[in-house]
Each structure stands twice: as structure tokens, then as C-alpha cells.
Amino acid sequence: MIRVENLYHQIKGKTILDNISLEVEKGKLTSIIGPNGAGKTTLIHLMAGGAPYQRGNIYLKDELLSKYSIPELSRTRALLAQQNSLSFPIAVYDIIELGRQPFSRLESPEKSKEAIERSVALWGIEDFIHRDYLSLSGGEKQRVQFARVWTQLYGEDLKEKVLFLDEPLTYLDISHQLDFMDEIQKLTQQGVTVVAIFHQLELALKYSDQIVLMDQGKKVYSGSTKDLPPHFFEDVFRVSAHWYREGLDNHIGFKKLSKQPS
């Protein structure tokens, strides 16, 4: 679905992405993990066409990303950013409605309304649909943003769509985190390609089809979750990882490495 080739990007003279190549498979959840400052957010924004990249190539559906117009891209992918700030009071419903903006000239108002209603029901926000966004709790705000982004993707051709998520679990409690991961899994089952940045390694490893591990602007590993060699955790995160079985599920636990005397 997305192919990144030799991507290289600098911001203010500092190399943020250094020769990144990777492939995102269609209809799969690809998680990007790595310590703070690894370049994950920059990578996801460049892949989503949020800013022009400097060197290398990014292909979306075998077409150069730069060939797509801004409105075209908005009908193919959606991105949920890390921080969302609003300067004015605005009702939850209106925010979700803005998610359908890319299609406003292409579809009937009924169709847009259907997308919005489905999304509202899916993310369970009926109860505060008419409230002011600024008065919501962090978790509620995050759910509203999910609903907005999902409204943007909604359609019959889900198999052609890509969802980018930058640390989507940040404001959610553990029960909503698990709910959210289940929803993501359902989306990929319907054919949506999902690329997400996670700091919750356990959840990322448990749910993802593919892992991209990054450190200091470089890609350290990309491939299936179960092939990820444990020593990468030690190299990149300075933690030791061990798998254990509980019932039918595999789990992973982490322990901080003690500092070695130098």
C-alpha cells in the first residue's frame, strides 16, 4: 500500500530521518515503535503527505505521493495527530462533521449524515454529541477525534484507505485502550490499512501485524512481530524483554537494564 524508499529528511540542519526504507502492507496494522526523538512522528507525517519530503521516494498505491493533490489525499487517508488544540468553542457534532469535509462536494448530505451517525455510534459518543468540545475530559476528546478521523475514512472502499495514528492511546485509560485496539483490529479486518505510533509496547506487539522499530532517525527493524529479536529491546530501549504464556495468549514483560559499569 505504501512504499518508502531511502527517505532522508532534515529539520533545521538536524537529520531526523536517515535513509529509511519500508513497506506497509494493505489491510494490516503496522506499528512504529521506538524511543522518544527517534523520528517516528516525522516519518508518519511524511508518509501521510503532511509536508514535502527532501530526499528519497514515498509511493502510495504504486503512485508517487507527490502526484496526489491535497484534496485527493484527504479522500484516501486520514491522520490523527498527537495533539489537537482548538481555539474556539465548538460542539462535538460539528467537529465530527468536519471530518466529512473532503466529500462535501462529491456526495449527498444524506450520505455524509450516514457517515457521521455510524461514526458517532461506533465510538460511543452519543451522550455528549451536543456538548462543547473544550469541556470534555482528555479521554472523551480523544474519542471525538477518533470519530472525526473515522468519519473521514468511511465508505464502501475501505480497502483503499489508510489510517495514520500518532500515539492514539495517550489519553485513554486501560479499558478504553483495549477497546480501541479491538476497534483497530476490526478496521484492518474490513481492509483498512493502519499505520500507528505506539508507546505501549505490549499492546503494539500483541495487536500489530508488522512492526517498524526506529532509533535516532534510523530503521532498526521491520517485519513481523514474532520475529523481532529480543536484543533489539536491549539495544534501543535499554530494557530486557521476555515472553510468557498465559492461557492461550502470549504476553511480553519488560525490565529495565541495570547500568553497566564502564
Partner: protein, 339 residues
């Protein structure tokens, strides 16, 4: 949706009522039937009395001028607040109005030179160029090259600095000026609608209404901008293009109006706030609403200017600040806006 119809009707009725009020009262008083008879006499080509001439060629154009000016300034405030995603921006803060005032001061002092250059429209042309020039200066200085992105804090601070330069220039011109010119500068820096004629009214109406329709076409995009520039981009909006369109509409309409009226403060600031409280931050509504409410406010303010010390006049900005500042402070404290 129903609520919106009520709000529009209320705003429109308030506007009609204030127009009638403003036509009736002032240095001389008229009734609605005076208005009717004067107009019918005019159309029949009969001789008009002095009183009727004042009504038809001074009072009526002035009142409609007030409505348009208020509408345009409030619309300018709405546009800038949407663009910079900041509730305390208005055309005055990015140098548009004071730049226009500085241009006008140059005209008052060096009038003959400019009259030779630009002819009878020298004052509006000078003011227009002043407003245009300072606004682009402020925007250029507050835009970081790398991302073509305007830093709002920079914008406000540079706006303050450039405004200070404009005010010094106006001060210098007043210092050099002889008495009647100095009085013109002072009056103009504080805003006045006494220059209203049917001809000016036509010009301002053309510019203002095309500005309104132009910005209405951008209203959905301005809505997405509320989520952030990045989000708007991901929702398919060409943000850079939108930014240029909004600034052009704003600078042209506001400089143009200021060129005829002088500096009128606070309308652009408070009207969008009041409308957000009344209903919500939908830009189609905010733009239409600000045109109606801004027009009503300036129409009534101008009535106050003409009424209280008639036949003399109070400068318009004195009234708008007296009304605007308390409302602004109250709204800021009540709303917990983020900057």
C-alpha cells in the same frame, strides 16, 4: 437550524430598527413620513427644501455608510480570528487601520503634493496604500521563512511595534500641521463618518458585498482551520492558498473602508465573540452575523456621536471604545479562551 433562523431574524430586525432610529435622530429630526415624502419629491424632480436635502444627501447615505462600514470591519475581525485561530486578533492589531491613518496624516499635511499626484481621491488612496503597506510589513516580519507559517505571538508583538511607528508618524504630522490640518488628523485618527456621500457609499458597498461573498465561499475551509492548520491540510484544504485569500480579502476591504472613515476600533474584535456566544463558531453564520451585527453597532454608535453634543460630533472611536472595551474584557474573563 431553527435557532439560526431566529438569530438571523433578530439581527436583521435590530439592523432595520437601528437604521430607522439613526435616520430619525441627530442635529435635526425626521419622521419616517418625511423620508417617504422627500424621496417621492426627489423622484418627481420637485424642488427640495434645505431640510430635505440634508436628509437625502447627508443623513441617509451616512446611516447606510455606517452599516456597511461596521459590517466590513466586523467581517475583517472574523476572518482574521479564523485565520490566526486566535480570539484577540482584529484588523487594528496587524497594522491595517493605523497604517491607513498614517497614510491619511501624510495627506493632510502634504495635501497639495498628493492632490497633484492622485487627484480628488488622494485621501482614500493614501490611506489605502498606508493600510496595505503596513499590513504586509507586519505579516512579512512575523512569518518564519521555513514553513511559511505565521507565529501569532510574533504577529501581535510586531503589530504593536508597527502600530507604534504609525502613531509616531501621525504625531509628527500633527506637530508639523497647522491648526485646521491638525484637527483633521486628530478627528480622522479617531474615526468619523462625516465624509459619507452616495458616491462613497456605492464604492464601499461594492467592495464590502463582494468581500462578504468572497469570504462566504471560504467559510467551510475556515471551519476546518479551527481544528488546526495541520488538520485542515489533512482534511484536504490548501492552507497556504486559503491564507493568502483571507488576507487579501481582509486587507482590501478594511483598508478601503478605513480610507474613507479613519480609524474605528473594537468592532472587529467584539462582534465575532458576541456571535460565538449567541450561537456557535460556524463561519458561514459568523460572517453573515458579523456583517449584520457590526453594521448595527456602528450605526447606533454613529447615532450617539451625532446626538449627544449636536450640532457638534464626538469622534466615532471614542464611542466604540467606550462600548467595546468593557464588553471585550468581560468576554475574555468569562470564556477562558486559549491563546
Amino acid at each position: 437550524m431553527n435557532k439560526l433562523i431566529y438569530i438571523y431574524s433578530f439581527l436583521a430586525l435590530a439592523m432595520v430598527f437601528s437604521i430607522l432610529l439613526a435616520i430619525s435622530f441627530g442635529a435635526s429630526e425626521y419622521s419616517v413620513s418625511d423620508l417617504y415624502f422627500s424621496f417621492s419629491k426627489l423622484f418627481k424632480g420637485e424642488e427640495l427644501t434645505m431640510e430635505e436635502k440634508i436628509l437625502l444627501f447627508i443623513r441617509v447615505p451616512r446611516v447606510f455608510f455606517a452599516v456597511l462600514v461596521g459590517g466590513i470591519l466586523a467581517m475583517g475581525g472574523t476572518l482574521l480570528q479564523a485565520l490566526f485561530r486566535n480570539p484577540i486578533v482584529e484588523p487594528g492589531m496587524i497594522g491595517t487601520t493605523n497604517g491607513a491613518a498614517a497614510g491619511a496624516a501624510l495627506f493632510f499635511v502634504l495635501g497639495q503634493f498628493w492632490l497633484n499626484t492622485f487627484g480628488e481621491f488622494a485621501l482614500p488612496i493614501m490611506a489605502f496604500l498606508g493600510g496595505l503597506g503596513t499590513t504586509f510589513l507586519v505579516l512579512a516580519l512575523s512569518t518564519t521563512e521555513k514553513f511559511q507559517k505565521t507565529n501569532v505571538l510574533y504577529l501581535l508583538l510586531i503589530g504593536i511595534a508597527i502600530n507604534a511607528v504609525c502613531l509616531s508618524l501621525i504625531g509628527l504630522m500633527s506637530y508639523w500641521a497647522r491648526d485646521p490640518q491638525a484637527r483633521s488628523i486628530t478627528f480622522w485618527s479617531l474615526g468619523t463618518l462625516s465624509g459619507a456621500t452616495w458616491q462613497n457609499l456605492t464604492w464601499v458597498a461594492i467592495v464590502g458585498i463582494s468581500g462578504l461573498f468572497g469570504s462566504l465561499m471560504l467559510s467551510k475551509k475556515l471551519d476546518t482551520l479551527m481544528l488546526g492548520e495541520q488538520e485542515a491540510h489533512y482534511l484536504g484544504v490548501r492552507v497556504q492558498k486559503l491564507r493568502i485569500q483571507v488576507i487579501l480579502i481582509n486587507v482590501f476591504t478594511v483598508s478601503f473602508v478605513t480610507a474613507f472613515t479613519g480609524v474605528i476600533g473594537f468592532v472587529g474584535l467584539i462582534v465575532p465573540h458576541l456571535l460565538r456566544i449567541l450561537y456557535k463558531s460556524d463561519h458561514r453564520y459568523l460572517l453573515i452575523g458579523s456583517f449584520l451585527l457590526g453594521g448595527t453597532l456602528i450605526c447606533l454608535s454613529d447615532l450617539a456621536c451625532r446626538y449627544f453634543i449636536a450640532p457638534a460630533e464626538i469622534p466615532l472611536s471614542v464611542i466604540t471604545s467606550l462600548i467595546g472595551v468593557p464588553i471585550f474584557i468581560f468576554l475574555l474573563r468569562k470564556n477562558n479562551y486559549r491563546f
